[in-house]
Symmetry: C2
Subunit: 402 residues, 2 copies
């Protein structure tokens, strides 16, 4: 749906140089020496290696796709997108008239967005998901709506199946074999999530935590003097669970980069943490979540209640009205809001931001009812869908009277 | 745009009776006697008057359109919509082939929505606004965009003009005369705002405040034992200015009604107040505001800064991208968020809810920057437009370092 890949480049090396930043592409840092405060760098175009001293070091090595070590994974036409170059190669392969059947492995954000785009291109798409429903960061009742949408779009969705191996011929993938079936495939796209790219930092002795993500404080400083880290390679504090989590999203990475930059430059800024907000779109279905899902709440041992309501995106009599389902979860006794999930037609998804803002400021479920949200017939009912859900949930939390 | 008026009726008297509520339509309460705890009621169909005793009384008399006492106001075909019956009469008049030219007086929510609908019906529409720009609850820089949109839609917009009198022939309006011009009119629609309908309550001795709205506490109780009030006839606490305000909106009225009902029924509920959120749509332009505007902030004597940014509604490379302008206002020194305004294409307006939620929980402008809002290319940039504005505003507030 995007015309050309160049339009996706945020800034060129020249644009950095114009601002006085010596941005070196095609340079790989091979080692960090914290004692001598130097990095070893190889220029991949010349093969030449050099060392560079530093006063401050920012580790922003990002994340990389999870690639499972299963038989046949190295065959051609198995793609796990991590760079624009990789995406371009996938696009070229898909343009070949020989490609008809594509198998997507994994039903998370990347898997779903891939399946959506592949179907739009007129390909035969099978999506294989290990768990009982796609979108494991949403609860099962919400995941069901997403699965139904995928099937309506024509995606062959196979849930509760585990990929065991890939078959190939002349080096090219020909089939995906699961614990249940065998699927012929001209191309395979992996959407199995990402992991922090921290081997370099770990080898240098920087401390890591959850999923090997780098541990930083709220100024984005590591425990080593003068060494900072930001973006998809770091762990973040989850403000609802108070646990460290690894969330590789552009929003979080951008905020962390800003905070690290201000602090390294001598200013003071803090990154308080995340509440786990994410959004995507599959066909015309908007999908969003924030806070803790049922599984996360159970793992914390909290006593909770949940409710989900389905209503209209606009006032019921207004033309163009669609459907929105809002789910809220809250803690019994305290009445604390714990999380929210939304699936619905156009105009549904970004409503998650109200719940995310409420979680950020540690609101109760009854606080949500009181919010002064915008209403006019083209936008919602006089009771916003989020507030309808909050009213129902508040009754299940047996709150102390305010 | 709505098929029939019946679909606008929320509940019929029979639906109320089915739930055990004796709903009497066509009954007018003529007096409230607080001492004997009785109301005098007239059945307008029979003319019969009776008295009804009460233990608790809820005053929910709503608001009514402001109708200026100027010459010629009583002519036929001058409409100030206050009931469905009135709207139906206007619709019938507009259906007449003789009606070509309609003059709308007042450029607030009602005036703009009327102008939008009249233009869609193919009528010749002139909108007369007394102030320098339409939408006086938005600042002038935002109002300009709205004025431009109205003109592009074909509305003859006349700002800085005051209506002085109406001309008529055979009892029907023929022209609107302002301090500058004379406009031929087959129909005139008044959109001059509403005022609380509290004559009955004031005559009974219930205390009123701002714009003669009834004064209630946060349980919706008046100062008279057992007498409650809710909806457009009451004043609300503005949580940003801490002043009493009269805001006649369905969202506020619904919340107040719920709180009054719970309390009268023996429960405990509170209505904390409003932050002044409102939204509307003119053509394809979405218009929303919350908190305090520049004029309100100046009247409070606060030292403030403001910023407005214009960016894309989706990620810039994403198809279907539109334009959104976000304005934020904050207090210098404290860094407190004071208000926000949005104009933009589809998907812009409801983003005001994030600002409304932030105001409700008394966030600072820098808190807005930290919010974990949802991002994916179809919905926004990695920095949400509200956060881009917050970043720029925070620099102008000379905040103490956090």
């Amino acid at each position: 749906m995007v015309d050309n890949f160049e339009s996706l480049i945020a800034r060129t090396p020249q644009q950095f140089r114009d601002r006085g930043i010596d941005a070196r592409v095609c340079h790989v840092v091979e080692a960090i020496d914290l004692r001598t405060r130097r990095v070893s760098v190889q220029d991949t175009r010349t093969g030449k290696t050099s060392t560079e001293p530093f006063d401050y070091l920012l580790v922003a090595t990002g994340a990389e796709p999870v690639i499972p070590a299963i038989s046949g994974i190295d065959a051609q036409n198995i793609f796990a997108i991590k760079t624009l170059t990789g995406a371009s190669a996938l696009k070229q392969t898909l343009d070949s008239p020989d490609v008809r059947k594509v198998v997507v492995v994994g039903g998370g954000y990347i898997g779903l967005e891939m399946a959506d785009n592949l179907i739009t291109r007129g390909l035969d798409v099978t999506l294989i998901e290990r768990g009982p429903h796609v979108m494991s960061t949403m609860d099962g009742d919400m995941g069901q709506t997403i699965s139904d949408t995928l099937r309506t779009m024509g995606v062959h969705l196979q849930e509760n199946e585990q990929v065991e191996r890939f078959e190939s011929q002349n080096g090219k993938v020909t089939a995906v074999v699961t614990d249940h079936h065998r699927y012929v495939a001209d191309v395979v796209v992996l959407g199995l999530g990402v992991k922090p790219r921290t081997t370099l930092a770990r080898m240098a002795g920087l401390p890591v935590g959850v999923r090997d993500a780098l541990i930083v404080d709220d100024r984005m400083a590591t425990s080593m003097e003068g060494i900072w880290a930001a973006g998809d390679c770091t762990a973040s504090r989850h403000l609802v669970s108070n646990r460290l989590v690894h969330i590789a999203l552009a929003t979080v990475a951008n905020k962390q980069g800003r905070v690290a930059g201000i602090n390294i430059g001598g200013g003071v800024a803090r990154f308080p943490g995340v509440v786990g907000t994410a959004i995507t779109k599959v066909g015309t279905l908007e999908i969003a979540r924030t806070g803790l899902d049922r599984h996360e709440i159970e793992s914390l041992g909290l006593d909770f209640a949940e409710v989900s309501i389905t209503t209209e995106t606009r006032l019921a009599y207004y033309p163009g009205v669609g459907t929105i389902t809002v789910k809220l979860l809250g803690e019994k006794g305290t009445g604390r809001l714990l999380g929210g999930q939304i699936v619905g037609t156009e105009g549904s998804g970004k409503r998650i931001d109200v719940i995310a803002t409420a979680l950020f400021s540690r609101m109760s479920v009854t606080d949500l009812i009181d919010l002064d949200l915008a209403y006019a017939p083209p936008f919602s009912d006089a009771w916003d869908p989020v507030q309808i859900a909050a009213r129902q949930l508040s009754r299940r939390l047996t709150l102390p009277t305010p």
